[in-house]
Amino acid sequence: MTQRNGEIAAPVFIDSSLVLTAGARIGQAFAPRVLELAARSGVSAVTDAVVVAEVQAFVPSPLADLFRGIVEEIFEVTAGDWESARGLAREFPGRSPRTYLHAAVMRRRKVELLYAINGAGFEGLPGLRQLPVAELLRRSSDRHSDSGG
């Protein structure tokens, strides 16, 4: 991973599971907290249009706006991505269709790193590396230590 002043220089894909699944599984307060940490952590956050559509569909506006606000680029999702997702589904069965689609977009855009909730299905897909959400907490506190003196 390329480091730049202690930050992750490579773009990091932000999955909607951070707000959709986390709220239900960990607690409603978790989602805004983790998004704020992502925003403050210095990563170059990216996502795709279907992720944002999922967020717009299922979370309240303030949280959806927060999610939208932390990402620097929203990748389009193409028919080619859907075909690639279908190939991933054949090769690595047992995950949700949404996981394959987002993984296909990441592969096309050569994004290797992502933040997602454990169990979202990205684990073990080739070319992708899921960063532990706990890493966000650590990196955020590191930055504050560095800048806060």
Binding site: A49, V50, V52, A53, Q56, A57, F58, I74, E76, V77, T78, A79, D81, W82, R86, A89, S96, P97, R98, L101
Partner: protein
């Protein structure tokens, strides 16, 4: 005849509410439709996801791939569509999120007709004629509902 956008609920409602047969039957009928048909990548994903929920994602991928082969084009979903979808939702909050997104894609590509299962579902959106899947099948009469 202009291009028509296929909303995946055309298939779902075609099977469950309109008695048009199985998904395969409807897709096969669409092959004979003289009108150019388009859809978007979110629609393909909806077909897959519906089958995934009942434990048969493989069949969902198979059906969506057949649908993809029938249509002239599968439009991408872009950031611009998301912005448009929000505006559309502010204009008519009765629309579901997926309906807003399909309408955004339709408007971005200037497609005039939308084919769904039950046209009233879309509440007559401005500038788009909503029609039942029946209207596309062989031997049917047009039954469009145009928005204001």
């Amino acid at each position: 005849m202009g291009t028509a956008f296929l909303d995946p609920t055309a298939l779902v409602d075609g099977v469950t509410r309109l008695g048009l047969g199985r998904y395969e039957d409807i897709i096969r009928s669409l092959e004979e439709c003289p009108r150019p048909i388009v859809t978007d990548v979110y629609a393909l994903q909806q077909v897959v996801y519906r089958h995934h929920l009942v434990g048969d994602a493989d069949h969902g991928y198979h059906l969506a791939a057949r649908l993809k082969a029938v249509v002239e084009e599968v439009f991408s979903v872009t950031e611009r569509d998301l912005v448009l979808a929000r505006w559309i939702g502010e204009d008519d909050p009765r629309l579901e999120a997926r309906e807003r997104l399909h309408l955004a894609v339709i408007r971005r590509h200037s497609v005039g007709d939308l084919v769904t299962g039950v046209p009233e579902r879309y509440h007559a959106p401005r500038g788009v004629t909503c029609m039942s899947i029946r209207a596309l099948l062989p031997g049917s009469e047009p039954d469009g509902h145009r928005g204001g």
